[in-house]
């Protein structure tokens, strides 16, 4: 199995993520209507569509950093809500970390995810347990790093990372929101799964599905 993620694979990952979010748009919006302003699904779908149209028009740079940067900028310009600057920051920081190269090895990919995570932490000023996308993002990145450190195969590490993101997503349900629009609800936010963590879990599941050879048969 290849342990190299090239620019084509990363594009597939982003396109897959966009497709998954669109598929789950209704669910995301429903989750957001419980504790937010009911726009996460539609906002993110709109932003990702803009990103996909950039990726699809054949003008994306052939090198990873610039490709991720262009994708992030497209997203930022069309989301509108908080997920724009947050996901935008994630991809832009990934772009900086990856730099001008054709392919990423497992450790470089993990480093890029880590840079993205640090960016989201700094941008959102939230911490784990605040009932935000970080509750999926932090375990996803940390699990990937730990698995690679233990010498587990890349494919297995990516799967573990996606699993961790989903577990983190599920764990947001009983949490009390402390950031964003949901925090205005206080106690009433308890009992609802966080939409941001939900979309982040999709991001890492899409990574596992596209970056592991033969997994993306659908």
């Amino acid at each position: 199995m290849s342990e190299i993620v090239d620019v084509t694979t990363l594009r597939s990952w982003l396109i897959r993520f966009a497709g998954d979010v669109e598929e789950h748009a209704a669910q995301l919006t429903e989750l957001d209507s419980a504790i937010g302003d009911a726009d996460h699904g539609s906002n993110l779908t709109r932003g990702l569509k803009a990103m996909v149209s950039v990726l699809a028009d054949g003008t994306t740079p052939p090198s990873i950093g610039p490709m991720l940067k262009q994708s992030g900028m497209a997203l930022v310009s069309s989301v509108g809500g908080a997920s724009g600057p947050l996901y935008g920051t994630f991809f832009l920081r990934m772009a900086t970390s990856a730099g001008e190269c054709d392919a990423l090895g497992p450790d470089s990919l993990a480093a890029a995810f880590r840079a993205g995570l640090e960016g989201v932490l700094a941008r959102g000023q939230a911490v784990a347990g605040d009932k935000t996308m970080l509750d999926a993002l932090i375990p996803a990145v940390e699990t990937l790093e730990a698995a690679l450190n233990e010498g587990r195969p890349f494919g297995e590490a990516l799967k573990a990372s996606a699993d961790a993101a989903e577990a983190g997503r599920d764990a947001t349900t009983p949490m009390l929101a402390r950031k964003g629009r949901a925090s205005y609800l206080g106690e009433r936010s308890v009992g609802h799964q966080d939409p941001g963590a939900t979309s982040t879990a999709l991001l890492f599941r899409a990574a596992a599905n596209t970056m592991i050879d033969g997994e993306d048969n659908q």
Binding site: N43, M73, V76, S77, S78, V79, G80, G81, A82, S83, G84, P85, L86, G88, T89, L92, R123, G124, G180, R181
Partner: protein, 819 residues
């Protein structure tokens, strides 16, 4: 200097942001504050966009910095991300402010309009809620917990007489006059019985609702209490500095203006913006500048001081006496012993001139800031302004970017920079140096962007955002034009546009002189877009394709197929009419990566043009192959540049003959450029080997007068109207007579004044930018061959270029094309 803080309003809703801006604008009508809106994804869709915010910041950026106000949630995140997207220089000048949007915006606009710095504008914005809080915290009129708890040392009442009461401007004057006095001063509206507010807070003062005729009450404690109240008294007696009559723009005020060289025709009015951000005295990167010997650094300092002195002196000549006074201070600072001694001492200690100067200027400005006297405190701004100006001369030039909308203000442009200008963003160009015959001017003209050149270094003194009006046809530049001047410029633009429509309608007919001589008018075009424009504007042929465009900025030369395709594209865009392909014309001044050349002391007198082609025949042969292929499909002329001897021309033709083979393409014509005086004088020898001679007047002028176009100090010598150049054109026409046709393809050809002169000298083809084709055709139609010959004969006998122009001006007017 009226450089004010720029403000950006970030909101989820575009209508909300616009309304907030309108509200703030009402408080300070006519105030010179730049406010940009970055709100909503479009008119209806709610949302925020970091990219739009960063663009909004850039659009209002200036030396005073930018304050960003935002509503909630993602607006904050997007604003933070936007900050990250900005370039380093701008980022340092941007402050994201947590003030409430509407109240903060009003306070910020009012404070910025008063010329306050970024920190103060931000503080006032954050304070914007204070007025409302105090208002709602108790019954109106009930004093809030007084800050002055002891018995005030002084108490007084004043009537407020300005027509709009104590609005932002008079309130700002009050704050300014009181600042620095050792006293605590509070004011209330005695007429409405309002709460007491601190007199130093602009936002609080403007919430007092003081109208014309209201009485304000002031109380003060502290050592300066009496002085404070006296100052308020004198301010009130003087109508708070407001005009007493109706508020009108003082008529007949002087507008500084300059007469520069007309570099590209057209009218532009707008704010100037610089390509290069001014360096900051507190730039932490300064310490990184490499150190040379202290002697060299001392000399660099002296040179920089002298350069700034020169700039300021130039500016003063254009200003009214009051305005010029400001710059007296700046001049004095350049000689200030305290500043200079300390800077020199620091250089003596081994620091480079730039950080040494910056540190001294910064400290001096900070000291002025601390002074209690308002007048002296204002000098801090002067020290910073001069400090940064000198610093700019001490630092290596930074790479320039051209993004902001308005009128670009630059020292000069490289051709590459000029080529990237976008007329939708850059509405006009003001060049401190440069000349109308420089490459930059040629490229700017081709883009149809109005420009003036050679204005003088003084324009660098203009604050960012100063509105100027320029006429690129006459070379006029008016700084801060009044309504009348603006209208005058707009009228000119309208007249030009209307004349242009008539001219354009006739552009597709041949240009024939009054006495029936057909003059061909060709266009220079090197891209399909230019070729399309040439066709639309009635060019009879494309008389110059600069094929360099295919060869530059790449690692390997284009192969035959690629060249063939590119040339065919051009021919197609021109509707299959004749195109003239000039073979590669490069030299040591712009070497190609795949064609390494030895460094030459004088690249303009070195291996260039055909000289290079013959030394490296592989590239020339490939190019000729492509040209011949194209010539078998569409009418083509080939032209060899930089010919100086018969041997070169024969060698080139032999190469061409080899490529052509036994069957010559029908309609392939061969020509040479006449750029070297030697070629002009040997036209009779060269003409038998060519179908046409095309005089490149730019290079011919430069070589004849031995004056390089790019060198400002000698550029004026290189005047195509010089009689020597005219005699060489005449010699070319005489030598070629009956053997080859003579064209002129320099900028000279596009000068309507030169048309009768060139026709009279014997030129039968003019090659100009696509844009100029209709005008030149009109000029030809107004020309008579007989008159032109006489005119040319007289012109050739003139002693200098100026008298040649006089001769042209004095000729009996024969058309409407003379300005």
């Amino acid at each position: 200097m009226n450089s004010t803080v720029g403000i950006v309003v970030v909101s989820h809703s575009r209508p909300l942001a616009r309304a907030a801006v309108a509200l703030a604008g009402q408080m300070t009508p006519g105030a010179p504050v730049r406010v940009a809106v970055a709100a909503g994804l479009d008119e209806e869709t709610l949302g925020t966009d970091a990219v739009a915010i960063s663009e909004a910041v850039t659009s209002v950026d200036g030396p005073a910095g930018v304050l960003v106000l935002m509503d909630l949630g993602s607006a904050v995140l997007s604003a933070e991300l936007a900050r990250e997207l900005l370039d380093e220089g701008t980022r340092r000048r941007v402050l994201l402010c947590p003030a409430p949007l509407v109240e903060g915006l009003v306070a910020a606009v009012v404070t910025a309009a008063g010329g306050a710095g970024l920190g103060e504008v931000a503080a006032e914005a954050r304070n914007g809620l204070a007025g409302k809080e105090s208002q709602l915290s108790g019954a109106p009129g009930r004093p809030e917990t007084p800050a002055i708890s002891e018995v005030p040392a002084a108490l007084a009442r004043f009537v407020v007489t300005p027509a709009h009461g104590l609005h932002a401007r008079p309130a700002a004057r009050l704050v300014t006059r009181l600042r620095g006095i050792e006293a605590q001063v509070e004011i209330r509206n005695a007429t409405t019985g309002s709460a007491w507010v601190p007199a130093l807070s602009l936002t609080r003062l403007t919430t007092l609702g003081v109208l014309a005729g209201h009485e304000i009450q002031a109380r003060a404690t502290g050592a300066g209490a009496q002085i404070a109240l006296e100052r308020i008294g004198s301010l009130a007696a003087g109508n708070f500095g407001e005009p007493t009559g109706p508020a009108v723009d003082p008529a007949g005020r002087q507008e500084p203006s300059a007469h520069a060289s007309a570099a590209s025709p057209g009218i532009a009015i707008g704010p100037v913006h610089r390509a290069t951000p001014a360096p900051r005295l507190d730039d932490p990167g300064l310490v990184d500048v490499l150190t040379r010997t202290p002697e060299l650094e001392q000399r660099a300092l002296a040179t920089a001081l002298e350069a700034v002195r020169h700039q300021i002196t130039g500016l003063k000549g254009l200003l009214t006496r009051d305005e010029a006074e400001i710059f007296e201070t700046h001049l004095a600072l350049l000689d200030d012993p305290a500043l200079l001694d300390q800077t020199r001492a620091r250089i003596g200690d081994g620091r480079p001139a730039a950080p040494a100067w910056a540190a001294t200027a910064r400290e001096t400005a900070d000291r002025f800031d601390d002074l209690t006297d308002a007048y002296l405190a204002a000098r801090a701004a002067d020290v910073r302004a001069v400090g940064e100006q000198v610093l700019a001369h001490l630092l290596p030039p930074v790479e320039e970017t051209f993004s902001g909308p308005g009128i670009l203000l630059v020292e000069d442009l490289t051709p590459a920079q000029a080529a990237t200008l976008d007329g939708n963003i850059t509405h006009g160009v003001v060049m401190a140096a440069g000349s109308p015959s420089g490459h930059a001017a040629i490229l700017i003209r081709a883009r149809g962007i109005p420009a003036v050149a050679g204005v003088g270094a003084f324009v660098h003194q203009l604050p960012e955002g100063t509105v100027v009006a320029l006429d690129g046809t006459t070379g006029e530049l008016v700084i801060d034009p009044g309504a009348d001047t603006r209208q005058d410029f707009l009228d000119r633009a309208e007249t030009t546009r209307r004349n242009g429509e008539v001219t354009l309608r006739q552009a597709h007919s041949p240009a024939v002189t009054r006495d029936g001589v057909r003059i061909t008018v060709g266009a220079n075009a090197s891209t399909p877009a230019e070729a399309t424009a040439a066709r639309a504007r009635g060019a009879d042929l494309i008389s110059l394709v600069r094929t360099e465009f295919l060869f530059l900025s790449r690692d390997t030369p284009p192969d035959v197929d690629e060249q063939e395709a590119a040339y065919l594209d051009l021919a197609d865009a021109f509707g299959g009419e004749r195109i003239t392909l000039r073979t590669l014309d490069v030299g040591g001044d712009k070497p190609l990566g795949y064609l390494p050349m030895p460094v030459e002391a004088n690249p303009f007198l070195g291996v260039r043009g055909l000289r290079l082609g013959l030394r490296r025949p592989a590239i020339l042969t490939d190019q000729l192959r492509a040209i011949v292929r194209v010539a078998r499909q569409t009418p083509v002329s080939v032209m060899f540049p930089m010919v100086s001897t018969l041997g070169e021309l024969r060698a080139a033709r032999e190469l061409l003959d080899e490529v052509v083979g036994p069957r010559a393409p029908v309609g392939l014509r061969v020509g040479i450029m006449v750029e070297v005086p030697a070629a002009a004088l040997k036209a009779a020898v060269l003409a038998p080997y060519a179908d046409f001679l095309s005089i490149g007047t730019n290079d011919l002028t430069q070589y004849t007068l031995a004056a390089e176009r790019g060198n400002d100090d000698v550029a004026a010598l290189g005047d195509p109207f010089d009689p020597a150049v005219l005699q060489l054109i005449r010699a070319t026409c005489d030598g070629a007579a009956g053997r080859a046709e003579v064209a002129v393809c320099g900028e000279f050809a596009a000068d309507v004044r030169a048309v009768p002169l060139l026709v009279g000298l014997g030129v039968r083809e003019l090659s100009v930018t696509p844009r100029s084709v209709p005008d030149i055709k009109q000029a030809i139609r107004a020309t008579g061959l007989g008159d032109s010959r006489e005119l040319a004969a007289r012109a050739r006998e003139q002693p200098c270029a100026d008298t040649v122009r006089e001769v042209l001006r004095s000729r009996p007017s024969s058309g409407s094309n003379q300005k």
